[in-house]
Amino acid sequence: MFVDAPESTITGPPPTATMDQINKTFVPNVLPIAVGTEVRFPNRDQISHHVYSFSRTKTFELPLYKGESAPPVLFDKTGVVKIGCNIHDWMSAVILVLPTPHFAMTDADGRFTLTGLPPGTYTLLAWHEQSREKTADTAQRVEVPANNPELTFHLTLAEARSRPATRGSRWDQ
């Protein structure tokens, strides 16, 4: 869940986020970040990983490394970045680069709480990797504060499978 907002300029040091590699898996599976965030890719495994992305939003490559020797990667464009490990085909994760710092992840049951929003009227969007609906079509307006309003989003999920890279390269498609 995130607030649809024009990209805000970030002042001061860029915020950071972390995409771990634990037991040959990216953790978390989906990492939402605000545009301009630097993401670190610490390798908690005993073996090397080779993290890469060919996504249009951010193309980068962290050739074979162990531990925290890889430099942080700055995500300066909004969009969906699919990352993988060159030497482990099954490893993949999504970094969702959002135009706003106001976002939340649902839990396993699909519940979420979005906090820290200044009073005002907002448009909320929902994104899911397997969603059949376009992100823009999920828009719901909400006024803050309004006694902690509850919003429900209904997304139809497609079968989990690989998708053409371009399809998800933009969060609003």
């Binding site: 060919f54 249009r56 193309t59 993988g84 993949s92 690989s162 053409p164 890279a165 371009t166 399809r167």
Partner: protein, 576 residues
């Protein structure tokens, strides 16, 4: 003349020869026929099996090739360097030439005949070969369509620019799908030729209307691949798994059709052809050999047949010739065949038989000197009953008058010579009438008519014989007169009656004879000739049985010795 007739009349040698030849010929034909039957059936069965095996082999080969292609494709698609190059198409500074050259390198690396690369939406980026397709979308083209739908590798057989390809489409993950690789191996003439090398049978890939590839050389393909009309029949038959025998280009082929799953407008088939004639070639060679050996055997059999037939028939012919000799009366003939088999036995038997005949003839001749040939023959032939029989016969007695005076006038040798000449005439005259001279009585003879040879007209025969003797004597007398010698006068008496005829005498000197009163009476009639001065005198019993042509003379009733009553005798003068 019918064949059966002809066969019946053929010579033994011909028959043996023909029978031998027919037997060998029959064996030869039967052998050839049987070989043809067994071997051709076996050849067809073997060829059928080969066709089916080839079909399975080919099926396996296609599957294996697809699997290898798939493995290669997946390996290739997992190559990070390639992924990186493909991913450049997302970038603003995308350089198609770099991607194309990389593709060329990859294509040669895995030995694929076709390597196409599309973007993640199946729009072509690189086409090797097939430059004209750049920028086209393969979203609807199998197997890319399936790969696009499933996100997994997919395989299909499809046509690209007129060439049949085994294709595998595989997505390239980065880690999302960043593109597709389409790899292909051509199903072309070279492939068919390789299959032919492996299986030994010709294979053609075709649809009803089109031939895609074939192991037949291009120049003979039109002849050896069935035309669309024949193809239709062939394709219909595919379910039966039973090869069809088609004559193509003057050669017979067993043809079997296998369906191939392909994305074409018409169903694709693999046609496997095996030359039936070539499969039968060993049979032909075998048959030639059998024919040569058989002909040799036939020739040998004929020669043996000729030899054997000759061996059997030449002695038979010798015997036949001998038989002809014997029939002509040459009883001296003896076969010279010396063998120890049945033919030898036959020849010895023949010789024995002819020897027997000769001996009998000799006996007959010997007999004939003293007795009549008729008697001899009758005795030898067993016509004379041993127990004797009562027969009606005519008895003729002849005597020379004045013989005593004659015997004194001539020296003994001249006398015997004269007598023998006379008796020769008498015997000839008697035998001319079927009578037999039974006895020579010094200067006379006794002759029988009606025994042992039975005649109903024996009285006439006896009288004719008497007249014959008189005639022959006239000739002899003329000769005697010319030599200045005294002529001979004779008397002949004839009587007829029932006598007992049979073999008379002890065992070692038995002879045929007649006894009874008529014999004595005939003798008496002869002795009366002197009294009445007649030459031929017959009893009343005789004259009564003479025909009208006999000229009779005087008649007299005369007493005879031993008879109380006088008997009536008649003089016979001659014949009209």
């Amino acid at each position: 003349m019918g064949p059966i007739d002809w066969w019946a009349r053929s010579r033994l040698r011909t028959k043996i020869f023909l029978a031998f030849s027919a037997l060998v010929l029959a064996v030869l034909i039967a052998t050839l026929g049987f070989t043809q039957l067994v071997v051709s059936r076996e050849a067809q069965r073997t060829l059928n099996r080969e066709l089916l095996t080839t079909g399975q082999l080919f099926d396996g080969l296609l599957v294996e090739r697809a699997a290898r292609l798939r493995t290669n494709s997946i390996l290739l698609a997992s190559d990070f360097a390639l992924k990186r190059v493909i991913a450049t198409h997302f970038e603003a500074n995308y350089d198609p030439a770099t991607l194309a050259s990389a593709a060329l390198s990859y294509k040669s690396r895995i030995g694929a005949e076709l390597l196409w690369i599309t973007d993640e939406t199946a729009v072509l980026l690189v086409t090797l070969p097939g430059g004209s397709h750049g920028g086209q979308s393969l979203a609807g083209f199998s197997p890319v369509k399936q790969a696009l739908e499933t996100g997994k590798a997919a395989a299909a057989i499809a046509e690209i620019d007129g060439v049949l390809f085994q294709l595998v489409a595989v997505p390239v993950f980065g880690p999302d799908v960043i593109g597709f690789l389409l790899l292909g191996q051509a199903i072309d003439d070279a492939f068919a030729a390789r299959l032919r090398q492996a299986a030994g049978l010709n294979i053609t890939f075709l649809t009803q209307d089109r031939v895609f590839a074939s192991s037949w050389p291009a120049q003979s393909r039109d002849r050896l691949v069935p035309a669309p009309a024949a193809r239709a029949q062939l394709l219909r038959s595919q379910g039966a798994q039973q090869p069809l025998l088609l004559t193509l280009g003057g050669e017979r082929f067993l043809s079997l059709v296998f369906p191939i799953d392909a994305r074409l407008s018409q169903p694709l088939h693999a046609l496997v052809q095996g030359s039936y004639d070539r499969a039968l070639a060993p049979l032909r060679a075998l048959q030639w050999r059998i024919l040569i050996i058989g002909s040799g055997a036939l020739l040998a059999a004929l020669l043996i047949g000729i030899g054997l037939a000759g061996g059997i028939t030449s002695p038979v012919q010798t015997l036949v010739a001998g038989m002809r000799e014997v029939l002509r009366g040459n009883l001296r003939y003896r076969s010279s065949i010396e063998r120890h088999d049945e033919l030898g036995f036959l020849a010895r038997s023949f010789n024995d038989m002819v020897g027997g005949l000769e001996e009998r003839e000799h006996i007959k001749d010997t007999f004939g000197r003293f007795v009549s040939r008729d008697v001899a023959e009758a005795v030898l032939s067993g016509r004379v009953p041993l127990e004797g029989e009562r027969r009606d016969v005519t008895i003729l007695f002849q005597d020379i008058r004045g013989f005593t005076a004659l015997s004194e006038a001539l020296d003994p040798a001249a006398l015997l010579k004269l007598l023998n000449r006379f008796f020769t005439e008498v015997v000839a005259a008697v035998e001319a009438e079927g009578g037999v001279v039974k006895q020579f009585l010094g200067d006379g003879v006794m002759a029988l008519f009606g025994a042992p040879q039975a005649y109903t007209d024996h009285p006439e025969r006896a009288v004719r014989a008497a007249l014959g003797i008189v005639n022959r004597l006239a000739g002899l007398n003329r000769e005697l007169e010319q030599q200045g010698l005294a002529t001979l006068q004779i008397g002949v008496g004839i009587h007829t009656g029932a006598v007992v005829a049979g073999l008379i005498g002890p065992d070692n000197r038995v002879e045929y004879g007649v006894v009874g009163d008529p014999v004595n009476l005939a003798n008496r009639v002869e002795s009366l000739t002197k009294e009445v001065r007649a030459t031929v005198l017959v009893s009343r019993e005789i004259s009564a049985r003479l025909g009208p042509r006999f000229v009779l003379g005087r008649t007299a009733m005369l007493p005879v010795k031993g008879k109380k009553q006088p008997i009536e005798v008649v003089e016979v003068l001659g014949l009209d």
